[in-house]
Amino acid sequence: MDKREYQWAWLMVLPVVLIVAFSAIMPLMTVVNYSVQDIFGPDSRFFVGTEWFKEVLRDPALHGALVRQIIFSAAVLFIQIPLGIGLALCMPKKGIGVSFALVLLALPLLVPWNVVGTIWQVFARPDVGLAGVTLNSLGLDYNYTGDSLDAWFTVLVMDVWHWTSLVILLCYAGLQAIPDAFYQAARIDGASRWAVFRYIELPKLKGVLLIAILLRFIFSFRIYAEPFVLTGGGPGNATTFLSQSLTTMAVGQFDLGPAAAFSLVYFLIILLFSYVFYLTILNMDREG
């Protein structure tokens, strides 16, 4: 759709710009300010240049958190996207089952994030939790508070529980938008189920899948409350991800300078990935 050139449209956008600028630009400037200063008190601060950035980029603890974060986000995308597509294909097309399934699917998305941690804590504890007790009685030695691998596994399953629904709902909406005529044509041609998926459904899902990948990437990359409540980042720091390292640094140890430098690096990483996604989406909008 071709749009009209109209500079007064800025007036309509102005309230949004003001309100977001208040919440985004001023705090961001504070962060930039902190990241180049050493602050001892309100009246004694020194300019330190790129000192904090160097320190943060060399910090082995943060390297560890970054590596864990990348592995986690990759695992999340790798599991949730195919699973979400698969389950969306299983959804009934119409009937009373649809509303019922949709409401149940959406439920985990509306649970406050720290309560997600609580739910899984209660569910997975080896002493009182349903999953924990069941796994142990099956002869598996499962204890997510003591074993790093179990903790990882639990955090990952929790995230799959929490967020796969988002992918399912997106894909389901995409599938609903495919006209019946496409399927009829495929039936006349004698196309196999796989061919229908590969040449009709998957191309039509491209748009929503990109949104799904973008949102899943962003939200998994800044995960905080769920693992914090469930494992506290442990055992050791096996499930400490970037947001938690940052919060510990800023609020726990009050290392303002390094924390601010870390914030900026963290934000830039997300921005970079997201920009690539955004360009891809924009290009697709133009083509399709």
């Binding site: 309230p15 309100i19 985004a24 439920l107 609580t118 389901y172 409350a225 919060t247 955004y278």
Partner: protein, 267 residues
């Protein structure tokens, strides 16, 4: 894939989704003694003591009121500012529109942890610390861009000819927007409100940092109470169940629009 096998797969998934919630509800109906001593799939001695405790304790329900208040404020603010902006983005080209749109989106991407400290200082310096409006404003950081994004998707689906006809008929922009355009994107507005509700309701890192007593959200009341009195599993589970209720209610009301809503109007 046969349709029966598909439904079995989907059914198993729904069971997996509900199992942790089922367990939470069961725990909330048990006594602590039973939770710790015996393991059973349902309560042997059904008790609603935990619920009575929460509903009669005045330290608990302000949490619910606080959460509801700032979430509602956030939804109202977000919709009010996002509606005209989304219209501008969907209908006009103006200087820097693409860059502005991307800048807005970057705020959805920003990790809240980054803004923790600056927000704390900012709201303290303007005297808004520990008020509902502070949390609502802080949440607009991601709900407003999200609202603009979703509404823009829905508005782009409305043919431009409708606008032009209305202007030819002598409608002013505000009158056209409120009496003709808004009813057309009704479901889009509903979906947007739902998303603002959702993201404001589930976010706690900022809400927790910006409040101490007056505007403390329920989920924070919950964790603090629990850590103060040691691990009271029954009470913890009950509080958890009660935080699920508002979300479940809202989903029920928007169930017809959920699917298209989650695609952000972009299908």
């Amino acid at each position: 894939m046969g349709s029966r096998r598909r439904y079995i797969f989907l059914g198993l998934w729904l069971v997996f989704l509900m199992l942790p919630i089922y367990w939470l509800v069961m725990m909330s109906l048990k006594t602590n003694q039973e939770i710790l001593s015996t393991f059973s799939l349902w309560p042997q001695n059904l008790t609603v003591d935990n619920y009575i405790k929460i509903f009669t304790d005045p330290t608990w329900y302000p949490g619910y009121i606080n959460s509801t208040l700032y979430v509602l404020m956030n939804v109202v603010i977000s919709l009010t500012v996002a509606l005209p902006a989304a219209y501008a983005f969907s209908r006009y080209n103006f200087l820097g529109d693409k860059h502005l749109f991307f800048w807005l989106l970057t705020n959805i991407m920003a990790p809240p942890a980054v803004f923790l400290l600056p927000f704390f200082e900012l709201y303290q310096s303007v005297g808004l610390y520990d008020t509902h409006i502070a949390v609502a404003l802080a949440h607009t950081l991601f709900t407003v861009p999200l609202a603009v994004w979703i509404l823009e998707g829905f508005m782009s689906g409305v043919p431009k000819e409708i606008d032009e006809t209305a202007y030819l008929d002598g409608y002013s922009w505000p009158r056209f927007f409120i009496t003709i355009f808004l009813p057309l994107i009704r479901s889009g507005v509903g979906v947007t409100a739902f998303f603002c509700f959702m993201f404001s309701w589930v976010e706690l890192l900022l809400a927790r940092t910006l409040t101490s007593t007056e505007a403390k959200p329920i989920a924070v009341t919950m964790t603090r109470t629990v850590s103060a009195s040691g691990l009271d599993w029954g009470l913890l589970a009950t509080a958890g169940v009660l935080t699920l209720v508002p979300g479940a209610l809202v989903i029920w009301f928007v169930r017809k629009h959920i699917a298209r809503g989650f695609a952000l109007g972009r299908v």
